[in-house]
Symmetry: C2
Subunit: 260 residues, 2 copies
Protein backbone atom coordinates (compact mmCIF):
# COMPACT_ATOMS: atom_id res chain seq x y z
CA UNK A 1 0.00 0.00 0.00
CA UNK A 2 0.98 3.59 -0.51
CA UNK A 3 -0.05 6.86 1.08
CA UNK A 4 -1.83 9.72 -0.62
CA UNK A 5 -1.86 13.40 0.28
CA UNK A 6 -3.90 16.10 -1.42
CA UNK A 7 -4.76 19.73 -0.77
CA UNK A 8 -7.35 22.19 -2.03
CA UNK A 9 -7.23 25.81 -0.85
CA UNK A 10 -8.80 29.17 -1.64
CA UNK A 11 -5.49 31.03 -1.27
CA UNK A 12 -2.04 29.79 -2.27
CA UNK A 13 -0.96 27.76 0.76
CA UNK A 14 2.18 25.79 1.46
CA UNK A 15 1.89 22.14 2.36
CA UNK A 16 5.20 21.85 4.26
CA UNK A 17 3.55 20.79 7.54
CA UNK A 18 1.43 17.99 6.06
CA UNK A 19 4.16 16.89 3.65
CA UNK A 20 6.59 16.59 6.55
CA UNK A 21 4.16 14.21 8.25
CA UNK A 22 3.78 12.16 5.07
CA UNK A 23 7.54 11.96 4.52
CA UNK A 24 8.12 10.39 7.90
CA UNK A 25 6.10 7.44 6.65
CA UNK A 26 8.41 7.10 3.65
CA UNK A 27 10.86 4.71 5.24
CA UNK A 28 11.00 5.94 8.83
CA UNK A 29 7.67 5.46 10.64
CA UNK A 30 6.09 3.64 7.66
CA UNK A 31 7.10 0.99 5.12
CA UNK A 32 6.68 3.14 1.99
CA UNK A 33 10.27 3.06 0.80
CA UNK A 34 9.78 2.88 -2.95
CA UNK A 35 9.75 6.49 -4.01
CA UNK A 36 7.62 9.56 -3.62
CA UNK A 37 6.30 12.46 -5.67
CA UNK A 38 4.41 15.73 -5.29
CA UNK A 39 2.78 18.07 -7.80
CA UNK A 40 2.01 21.72 -7.08
CA UNK A 41 -0.25 23.75 -9.33
CA UNK A 42 0.54 27.40 -9.88
CA UNK A 43 -2.05 28.85 -12.25
CA UNK A 44 -2.41 26.50 -15.21
CA UNK A 45 1.18 25.37 -14.77
CA UNK A 46 2.35 22.76 -12.36
CA UNK A 47 5.63 21.41 -11.16
CA UNK A 48 6.44 18.01 -9.80
CA UNK A 49 9.20 16.74 -7.60
CA UNK A 50 9.79 13.01 -7.75
CA UNK A 51 12.34 10.52 -6.53
CA UNK A 52 12.53 6.73 -6.66
CA UNK A 53 14.54 6.99 -3.40
CA UNK A 54 12.77 6.63 -0.02
CA UNK A 55 11.38 10.03 0.94
CA UNK A 56 13.04 9.92 4.35
CA UNK A 57 16.46 9.73 2.62
CA UNK A 58 15.79 12.06 -0.30
CA UNK A 59 17.62 15.36 -0.53
CA UNK A 60 14.95 16.63 -2.92
CA UNK A 61 12.26 15.75 -0.37
CA UNK A 62 14.19 17.74 2.24
CA UNK A 63 14.10 20.77 -0.06
CA UNK A 64 10.37 20.43 -0.68
CA UNK A 65 9.69 20.06 3.05
CA UNK A 66 11.66 23.23 3.79
CA UNK A 67 10.78 25.38 0.77
CA UNK A 68 7.27 26.87 1.04
CA UNK A 69 5.86 26.48 -2.48
CA UNK A 70 2.40 28.03 -2.29
CA UNK A 71 -0.37 26.39 -4.26
CA UNK A 72 -4.17 26.03 -4.35
CA UNK A 73 -4.06 22.39 -5.49
CA UNK A 74 -1.55 19.70 -4.56
CA UNK A 75 -1.37 15.93 -5.19
CA UNK A 76 1.28 13.82 -3.48
CA UNK A 77 2.10 10.14 -3.02
CA UNK A 78 4.63 7.92 -1.29
CA UNK A 79 5.00 4.46 -2.67
CA UNK A 80 5.30 0.91 -1.44
CA UNK A 81 5.60 -0.95 -4.73
CA UNK A 82 3.31 -3.85 -5.53
CA UNK A 83 2.73 -3.75 -9.31
CA UNK A 84 5.67 -2.31 -11.30
CA UNK A 85 9.34 -2.05 -10.36
CA UNK A 86 10.88 0.78 -8.33
CA UNK A 87 11.65 3.17 -11.19
CA UNK A 88 11.08 6.82 -11.93
CA UNK A 89 8.48 6.05 -14.62
CA UNK A 90 6.42 4.15 -12.02
CA UNK A 91 6.53 7.00 -9.51
CA UNK A 92 3.30 8.93 -8.88
CA UNK A 93 1.79 11.46 -9.46
CA UNK A 94 1.17 10.81 -13.15
CA UNK A 95 0.38 13.78 -15.40
CA UNK A 96 -1.26 14.15 -18.80
CA UNK A 97 -2.45 17.14 -20.82
CA UNK A 98 -6.13 17.13 -21.75
CA UNK A 99 -7.87 20.16 -23.33
CA UNK A 100 -4.80 22.31 -22.66
CA UNK A 101 -4.86 21.55 -18.91
CA UNK A 102 -2.53 19.49 -16.73
CA UNK A 103 -4.33 16.52 -15.14
CA UNK A 104 -2.56 15.00 -12.14
CA UNK A 105 -3.37 11.68 -10.52
CA UNK A 106 -2.13 9.39 -7.76
CA UNK A 107 -3.45 5.99 -6.69
CA UNK A 108 -3.25 3.89 -3.56
CA UNK A 109 -4.18 0.22 -3.78
CA UNK A 110 -3.77 -2.68 -6.15
CA UNK A 111 -5.82 -3.84 -9.14
CA UNK A 112 -6.09 -7.35 -10.61
CA UNK A 113 -6.90 -8.52 -14.13
CA UNK A 114 -6.75 -4.94 -15.34
CA UNK A 115 -4.69 -5.44 -18.52
CA UNK A 116 -7.64 -6.32 -20.72
CA UNK A 117 -10.27 -4.37 -18.83
CA UNK A 118 -8.39 -1.06 -19.02
CA UNK A 119 -7.30 -0.63 -22.61
CA UNK A 120 -6.75 2.96 -23.73
CA UNK A 121 -6.14 4.66 -27.05
CA UNK A 122 -5.49 8.39 -26.63
CA UNK A 123 -3.43 8.16 -23.46
CA UNK A 124 -0.90 5.37 -22.99
CA UNK A 125 1.02 4.35 -19.88
CA UNK A 126 4.76 5.14 -19.80
CA UNK A 127 5.60 2.81 -16.92
CA UNK A 128 4.05 -0.55 -16.07
CA UNK A 129 1.88 0.08 -13.00
CA UNK A 130 -1.80 -0.76 -12.66
CA UNK A 131 -2.17 2.81 -11.36
CA UNK A 132 -1.02 4.62 -14.50
CA UNK A 133 -3.05 2.26 -16.67
CA UNK A 134 -6.18 3.13 -14.70
CA UNK A 135 -5.38 6.85 -15.10
CA UNK A 136 -5.00 6.53 -18.89
CA UNK A 137 -8.24 4.57 -19.06
CA UNK A 138 -10.10 7.24 -17.05
CA UNK A 139 -8.82 10.09 -19.25
CA UNK A 140 -9.65 8.12 -22.40
CA UNK A 141 -13.25 7.79 -21.23
CA UNK A 142 -13.39 11.51 -20.48
CA UNK A 143 -11.98 12.44 -23.88
CA UNK A 144 -14.48 10.15 -25.61
CA UNK A 145 -17.42 11.66 -23.75
CA UNK A 146 -16.22 15.27 -24.02
CA UNK A 147 -14.25 15.74 -27.26
CA UNK A 148 -14.00 19.47 -26.43
CA UNK A 149 -13.37 21.14 -23.11
CA UNK A 150 -16.71 21.84 -21.35
CA UNK A 151 -17.04 25.28 -19.81
CA UNK A 152 -18.18 23.77 -16.49
CA UNK A 153 -15.79 21.14 -15.17
CA UNK A 154 -17.83 19.88 -12.18
CA UNK A 155 -19.87 17.47 -14.38
CA UNK A 156 -16.61 16.09 -15.80
CA UNK A 157 -15.43 15.20 -12.30
CA UNK A 158 -18.81 13.66 -11.47
CA UNK A 159 -18.47 11.58 -14.64
CA UNK A 160 -15.01 10.46 -13.53
CA UNK A 161 -16.41 9.55 -10.09
CA UNK A 162 -19.08 7.47 -11.85
CA UNK A 163 -16.31 5.42 -13.53
CA UNK A 164 -14.46 4.68 -10.29
CA UNK A 165 -16.69 1.79 -9.12
CA UNK A 166 -15.53 -0.09 -12.25
CA UNK A 167 -11.96 0.28 -10.99
CA UNK A 168 -12.94 -0.62 -7.45
CA UNK A 169 -14.34 -3.90 -8.79
CA UNK A 170 -10.79 -4.75 -9.93
CA UNK A 171 -9.30 -4.37 -6.46
CA UNK A 172 -8.44 -1.51 -4.12
CA UNK A 173 -8.78 1.93 -5.67
CA UNK A 174 -8.16 5.00 -3.51
CA UNK A 175 -7.40 7.98 -5.72
CA UNK A 176 -6.69 11.69 -5.98
CA UNK A 177 -7.20 13.54 -9.28
CA UNK A 178 -6.89 17.24 -10.05
CA UNK A 179 -6.99 19.62 -13.00
CA UNK A 180 -5.49 22.39 -10.85
CA UNK A 181 -8.90 23.87 -9.95
CA UNK A 182 -10.82 20.87 -8.64
CA UNK A 183 -9.48 18.03 -6.46
CA UNK A 184 -11.40 14.74 -6.55
CA UNK A 185 -10.91 11.99 -3.96
CA UNK A 186 -12.33 8.48 -4.36
CA UNK A 187 -12.20 5.92 -1.57
CA UNK A 188 -12.24 2.14 -1.52
CA UNK A 189 -10.98 1.58 1.99
CA UNK A 190 -8.57 4.23 3.27
CA UNK A 191 -8.98 7.97 2.86
CA UNK A 192 -9.57 10.81 5.32
CA UNK A 193 -10.05 14.54 4.97
CA UNK A 194 -10.51 17.69 6.99
CA UNK A 195 -11.17 21.34 6.24
CA UNK A 196 -9.37 24.02 8.22
CA UNK A 197 -11.07 27.42 8.49
CA UNK A 198 -11.49 30.17 11.09
CA UNK A 199 -11.30 29.95 14.05
CA UNK A 200 -7.97 28.21 13.51
CA UNK A 201 -6.25 26.25 16.25
CA UNK A 202 -3.13 24.25 16.87
CA UNK A 203 -2.29 20.89 15.35
CA UNK A 204 0.35 18.26 16.09
CA UNK A 205 1.75 15.79 13.59
CA UNK A 206 1.29 12.14 14.54
CA UNK A 207 4.58 11.09 12.92
CA UNK A 208 6.87 13.77 14.40
CA UNK A 209 6.76 16.35 17.14
CA UNK A 210 6.02 19.29 14.85
CA UNK A 211 3.25 21.49 16.31
CA UNK A 212 1.77 24.29 14.22
CA UNK A 213 -0.49 27.14 15.26
CA UNK A 214 -2.58 27.83 12.16
CA UNK A 215 -3.81 31.06 13.77
CA UNK A 216 -0.33 32.47 13.18
CA UNK A 217 -0.08 31.19 9.61
CA UNK A 218 -3.44 32.13 8.13
CA UNK A 219 -5.94 34.92 7.62
CA UNK A 220 -9.53 34.48 8.75
CA UNK A 221 -10.81 33.96 5.19
CA UNK A 222 -8.51 31.01 4.43
CA UNK A 223 -10.15 27.67 3.68
CA UNK A 224 -7.79 24.72 3.30
CA UNK A 225 -8.79 21.09 2.87
CA UNK A 226 -6.27 18.28 3.33
CA UNK A 227 -6.94 14.73 2.15
CA UNK A 228 -4.74 11.86 3.37
CA UNK A 229 -4.75 8.08 3.52
CA UNK A 230 -4.44 8.20 7.31
CA UNK A 231 -4.93 11.26 9.54
CA UNK A 232 -1.70 13.25 9.75
CA UNK A 233 -2.53 15.08 12.98
CA UNK A 234 -3.73 13.70 16.30
CA UNK A 235 -5.65 16.68 17.63
CA UNK A 236 -8.02 17.47 14.74
CA UNK A 237 -11.26 15.83 13.58
CA UNK A 238 -10.55 13.96 10.35
CA UNK A 239 -13.52 12.58 8.39
CA UNK A 240 -13.11 8.97 7.40
CA UNK A 241 -14.51 8.27 3.94
CA UNK A 242 -16.75 5.29 3.28
CA UNK A 243 -16.11 2.59 0.71
CA UNK A 244 -17.28 3.82 -2.70
CA UNK A 245 -17.60 7.42 -1.53
CA UNK A 246 -16.20 10.38 -3.45
CA UNK A 247 -15.73 14.03 -2.55
CA UNK A 248 -14.96 16.96 -4.87
CA UNK A 249 -13.27 20.13 -3.63
CA UNK A 250 -12.73 23.53 -5.21
CA UNK A 251 -10.85 26.33 -3.48
CA UNK A 252 -10.89 24.33 -0.26
CA UNK A 253 -14.68 23.91 -0.19
CA UNK A 254 -16.59 20.66 -0.66
CA UNK A 255 -18.64 21.29 -3.81
CA UNK A 256 -20.03 17.83 -4.54
CA UNK A 257 -20.05 14.34 -3.06
CA UNK A 258 -21.58 10.96 -3.73
CA UNK A 259 -21.18 7.25 -3.26
CA UNK A 260 -22.53 3.81 -3.82
Amino acid sequence: MCELLGMSANVPTDICFSFAGLLERGGRTGPHRDGWGITFYEGKGCRSFKDPLPSSESEIAELVKRYPIKSCAVVSHIRQANRGAVKLENTHPFIRELWGRNWTYAHNGQLSQYQRALRSHHFLPIGNTDSERAFCWLLDQVREKYPKRPSNMAPVFRFIASLCPTLKELGVFNMLLSDGVYVLAYCTNNLHWLTRRAPFGKATLIDSDWVIDFQQETTENDVVTVIATQPLTGDERWQKMNSGEWVLFKQGELVSRGGE
Copy 2:
Protein backbone atom coordinates in the same frame (compact mmCIF):
# COMPACT_ATOMS: atom_id res chain seq x y z
CA MET B 1 16.14 35.32 -26.56
CA CYS B 2 16.68 32.36 -24.30
CA GLU B 3 19.44 29.82 -23.86
CA LEU B 4 19.20 26.11 -24.51
CA LEU B 5 21.25 23.28 -23.04
CA GLY B 6 21.01 19.63 -24.00
CA MET B 7 22.99 16.48 -23.32
CA SER B 8 23.20 13.00 -24.84
CA ALA B 9 25.46 10.38 -23.24
CA ASN B 10 26.17 6.66 -23.41
CA VAL B 11 26.42 6.30 -19.62
CA PRO B 12 24.35 8.14 -17.01
CA THR B 13 26.22 11.41 -16.58
CA ASP B 14 25.55 14.42 -14.42
CA ILE B 15 25.23 17.81 -16.03
CA CYS B 16 26.18 19.89 -12.95
CA PHE B 17 29.18 21.53 -14.64
CA SER B 18 27.36 22.65 -17.80
CA PHE B 19 24.19 23.57 -15.89
CA ALA B 20 26.24 25.75 -13.56
CA GLY B 21 27.54 27.65 -16.59
CA LEU B 22 24.04 28.08 -17.96
CA LEU B 23 22.65 29.27 -14.64
CA GLU B 24 25.12 32.11 -14.47
CA ARG B 25 23.43 33.50 -17.56
CA GLY B 26 20.06 33.39 -15.81
CA GLY B 27 20.20 36.89 -14.37
CA ARG B 28 23.88 37.30 -13.47
CA THR B 29 26.08 37.29 -16.60
CA GLY B 30 23.09 37.14 -18.97
CA PRO B 31 19.68 38.80 -19.27
CA HIS B 32 17.59 35.60 -19.02
CA ARG B 33 15.71 36.42 -15.86
CA ASP B 34 12.30 34.95 -16.66
CA GLY B 35 12.52 31.41 -15.37
CA TRP B 36 14.35 28.21 -16.11
CA GLY B 37 13.71 24.49 -16.36
CA ILE B 38 15.56 21.21 -16.79
CA THR B 39 14.36 17.68 -17.57
CA PHE B 40 16.40 14.56 -16.80
CA TYR B 41 15.50 11.19 -18.27
CA GLU B 42 16.03 8.09 -16.16
CA GLY B 43 14.89 5.07 -18.17
CA LYS B 44 11.47 5.85 -19.63
CA GLY B 45 10.74 8.16 -16.73
CA CYS B 46 11.82 11.75 -16.48
CA ARG B 47 11.78 14.46 -13.89
CA SER B 48 11.72 18.17 -14.38
CA PHE B 49 12.72 21.04 -12.17
CA LYS B 50 11.24 24.40 -13.09
CA ASP B 51 10.98 27.84 -11.63
CA PRO B 52 9.55 31.11 -12.92
CA LEU B 53 12.21 32.82 -10.73
CA PRO B 54 15.57 33.84 -12.24
CA SER B 55 17.88 30.82 -12.15
CA SER B 56 20.64 32.79 -10.42
CA GLU B 57 18.25 33.44 -7.47
CA SER B 58 16.46 30.08 -7.39
CA GLU B 59 16.95 27.75 -4.44
CA ILE B 60 15.76 24.83 -6.59
CA ALA B 61 18.39 25.69 -9.22
CA GLU B 62 21.03 25.63 -6.48
CA LEU B 63 19.95 22.10 -5.54
CA VAL B 64 20.06 20.91 -9.16
CA LYS B 65 23.51 22.47 -9.64
CA ARG B 66 24.81 20.68 -6.54
CA TYR B 67 22.94 17.37 -6.73
CA PRO B 68 24.43 15.01 -9.35
CA ILE B 69 21.37 13.53 -11.08
CA LYS B 70 22.79 11.11 -13.64
CA SER B 71 21.06 10.85 -16.97
CA CYS B 72 21.66 9.87 -20.61
CA ALA B 73 19.38 12.59 -22.00
CA VAL B 74 18.81 16.10 -20.67
CA VAL B 75 16.94 19.15 -22.00
CA SER B 76 17.26 22.51 -20.27
CA HIS B 77 16.29 26.13 -20.90
CA ILE B 78 16.60 29.55 -19.32
CA ARG B 79 14.10 32.10 -20.44
CA GLN B 80 14.00 35.72 -21.44
CA ALA B 81 10.32 36.16 -22.13
CA ASN B 82 9.11 37.60 -25.39
CA ARG B 83 5.80 35.85 -26.16
CA GLY B 84 3.81 34.81 -23.08
CA ALA B 85 3.97 36.18 -19.54
CA VAL B 86 6.43 35.04 -16.85
CA LYS B 87 4.43 32.13 -15.45
CA LEU B 88 5.07 28.51 -14.61
CA GLU B 89 2.90 27.27 -17.50
CA ASN B 90 5.09 29.22 -19.93
CA THR B 91 8.33 27.78 -18.54
CA HIS B 92 10.25 25.30 -20.72
CA PRO B 93 10.88 22.39 -21.18
CA PHE B 94 7.41 21.32 -22.28
CA ILE B 95 6.49 17.64 -22.01
CA ARG B 96 3.85 15.45 -23.63
CA GLU B 97 3.23 11.72 -23.71
CA LEU B 98 3.15 10.13 -27.18
CA TRP B 99 3.07 6.32 -27.71
CA GLY B 100 3.76 5.77 -24.00
CA ARG B 101 6.96 7.85 -24.07
CA ASN B 102 7.77 11.23 -22.57
CA TRP B 103 8.64 13.81 -25.24
CA THR B 104 10.51 16.87 -23.99
CA TYR B 105 11.08 20.09 -25.90
CA ALA B 106 12.59 23.53 -25.45
CA HIS B 107 12.73 26.44 -27.91
CA ASN B 108 14.87 29.52 -28.30
CA GLY B 109 13.65 32.25 -30.60
CA GLN B 110 10.46 33.99 -31.53
CA LEU B 111 7.75 33.16 -34.07
CA SER B 112 5.30 35.53 -35.77
CA GLN B 113 1.86 34.92 -37.26
CA TYR B 114 1.89 31.43 -35.81
CA GLN B 115 -1.63 31.31 -34.36
CA ARG B 116 -3.32 30.25 -37.58
CA ALA B 117 -0.37 28.41 -39.08
CA LEU B 118 0.14 26.11 -36.08
CA ARG B 119 -3.25 24.70 -35.19
CA SER B 120 -3.22 21.37 -33.38
CA HIS B 121 -5.84 18.84 -32.41
CA HIS B 122 -4.39 16.00 -30.31
CA PHE B 123 -1.97 18.10 -28.29
CA LEU B 124 -3.02 21.51 -27.00
CA PRO B 125 -0.90 24.22 -25.40
CA ILE B 126 -1.37 24.83 -21.67
CA GLY B 127 0.34 28.22 -21.59
CA ASN B 128 0.34 30.92 -24.26
CA THR B 129 3.83 30.86 -25.76
CA ASP B 130 4.67 30.48 -29.44
CA SER B 131 7.12 27.79 -28.30
CA GLU B 132 4.58 25.41 -26.78
CA ARG B 133 2.23 25.93 -29.72
CA ALA B 134 5.01 24.89 -32.11
CA PHE B 135 5.70 21.81 -29.96
CA CYS B 136 2.04 20.76 -30.02
CA TRP B 137 1.93 21.29 -33.79
CA LEU B 138 5.05 19.15 -34.29
CA LEU B 139 3.70 16.29 -32.18
CA ASP B 140 0.33 16.49 -33.93
CA GLN B 141 2.06 16.04 -37.30
CA VAL B 142 4.01 13.07 -35.92
CA ARG B 143 0.90 11.41 -34.54
CA GLU B 144 -0.91 11.89 -37.83
CA LYS B 145 1.92 10.32 -39.82
CA TYR B 146 2.61 7.52 -37.33
CA PRO B 147 -0.64 6.50 -35.58
CA LYS B 148 1.30 3.70 -33.84
CA ARG B 149 4.78 3.76 -32.38
CA PRO B 150 7.34 2.74 -35.04
CA SER B 151 9.99 0.27 -33.87
CA ASN B 152 12.77 2.46 -35.25
CA MET B 153 12.60 6.03 -34.00
CA ALA B 154 15.35 7.60 -36.12
CA PRO B 155 12.98 8.13 -39.10
CA VAL B 156 10.52 9.85 -36.75
CA PHE B 157 13.19 12.36 -35.74
CA ARG B 158 14.17 12.90 -39.39
CA PHE B 159 10.50 13.57 -40.12
CA ILE B 160 10.41 16.11 -37.27
CA ALA B 161 13.55 17.74 -38.66
CA SER B 162 11.84 17.98 -42.06
CA LEU B 163 9.03 20.01 -40.43
CA CYS B 164 11.36 22.51 -38.78
CA PRO B 165 11.96 24.70 -41.86
CA THR B 166 8.21 25.49 -41.77
CA LEU B 167 8.72 26.86 -38.24
CA LYS B 168 11.90 28.67 -39.24
CA GLU B 169 9.87 30.52 -41.88
CA LEU B 170 7.78 31.99 -39.05
CA GLY B 171 10.78 33.48 -37.27
CA VAL B 172 13.70 32.23 -35.19
CA PHE B 173 13.49 28.55 -34.28
CA ASN B 174 16.35 26.94 -32.37
CA MET B 175 15.13 23.79 -30.67
CA LEU B 176 15.96 20.73 -28.60
CA LEU B 177 13.66 17.70 -28.61
CA SER B 178 14.10 14.30 -26.94
CA ASP B 179 12.20 11.08 -26.33
CA GLY B 180 14.76 10.03 -23.72
CA VAL B 181 16.81 7.99 -26.20
CA TYR B 182 17.45 10.44 -29.05
CA VAL B 183 18.22 14.15 -28.74
CA LEU B 184 17.46 16.32 -31.79
CA ALA B 185 18.83 19.86 -32.21
CA TYR B 186 17.61 22.24 -34.92
CA CYS B 187 19.30 25.57 -35.59
CA THR B 188 18.10 28.82 -37.07
CA ASN B 189 20.88 31.08 -35.87
CA ASN B 190 22.41 30.10 -32.53
CA LEU B 191 23.35 26.58 -31.49
CA HIS B 192 26.68 24.90 -30.75
CA TRP B 193 27.68 21.38 -29.75
CA LEU B 194 30.69 19.30 -28.81
CA THR B 195 31.32 15.64 -28.05
CA ARG B 196 33.65 14.70 -25.20
CA ARG B 197 35.40 11.32 -25.42
CA ALA B 198 38.79 9.83 -24.50
CA PRO B 199 41.38 11.21 -24.23
CA PHE B 200 39.58 13.61 -21.89
CA GLY B 201 41.09 16.93 -20.88
CA LYS B 202 40.32 19.93 -18.74
CA ALA B 203 37.64 22.50 -19.40
CA THR B 204 36.91 25.93 -17.93
CA LEU B 205 33.49 27.55 -17.80
CA ILE B 206 33.28 30.91 -19.56
CA ASP B 207 30.74 32.29 -17.07
CA SER B 208 32.45 31.31 -13.83
CA ASP B 209 35.87 30.14 -12.70
CA TRP B 210 34.87 26.47 -12.43
CA VAL B 211 37.55 24.21 -14.01
CA ILE B 212 36.85 20.51 -14.44
CA ASP B 213 39.25 17.70 -15.32
CA PHE B 214 37.07 15.21 -17.20
CA GLN B 215 39.88 12.64 -16.95
CA GLN B 216 39.05 12.38 -13.25
CA GLU B 217 35.29 12.20 -13.78
CA THR B 218 34.97 9.66 -16.60
CA THR B 219 35.96 6.22 -17.86
CA GLU B 220 37.62 5.86 -21.24
CA ASN B 221 34.45 4.51 -22.89
CA ASP B 222 32.30 7.52 -21.98
CA VAL B 223 30.86 9.56 -24.83
CA VAL B 224 29.03 12.74 -23.84
CA THR B 225 27.65 15.36 -26.20
CA VAL B 226 26.61 18.79 -24.96
CA ILE B 227 24.49 21.17 -27.03
CA ALA B 228 24.19 24.83 -26.05
CA THR B 229 23.08 28.14 -27.51
CA GLN B 230 26.54 29.60 -26.89
CA PRO B 231 29.72 27.67 -26.01
CA LEU B 232 29.87 27.11 -22.25
CA THR B 233 33.62 26.50 -22.05
CA GLY B 234 36.47 28.59 -23.45
CA ASP B 235 39.09 25.89 -23.96
CA GLU B 236 37.20 23.30 -26.03
CA ARG B 237 36.29 23.22 -29.73
CA TRP B 238 32.55 23.80 -30.06
CA GLN B 239 30.95 23.25 -33.45
CA LYS B 240 28.74 26.11 -34.56
CA MET B 241 25.63 24.90 -36.36
CA ASN B 242 24.52 26.48 -39.63
CA SER B 243 21.15 28.02 -40.30
CA GLY B 244 18.65 25.27 -41.17
CA GLU B 245 20.99 22.50 -39.96
CA TRP B 246 19.90 19.67 -37.66
CA VAL B 247 21.84 17.04 -35.73
CA LEU B 248 20.51 13.87 -34.07
CA PHE B 249 22.32 12.19 -31.19
CA LYS B 250 21.87 8.83 -29.50
CA GLN B 251 24.01 7.70 -26.56
CA GLY B 252 26.32 10.65 -27.14
CA GLU B 253 27.05 9.80 -30.77
CA LEU B 254 25.96 11.78 -33.81
CA VAL B 255 23.70 9.35 -35.68
CA SER B 256 22.19 11.57 -38.36
CA ARG B 257 22.39 15.13 -39.63
CA GLY B 258 21.02 17.27 -42.41
CA GLY B 259 20.13 20.78 -43.45
CA GLU B 260 18.73 23.05 -46.04
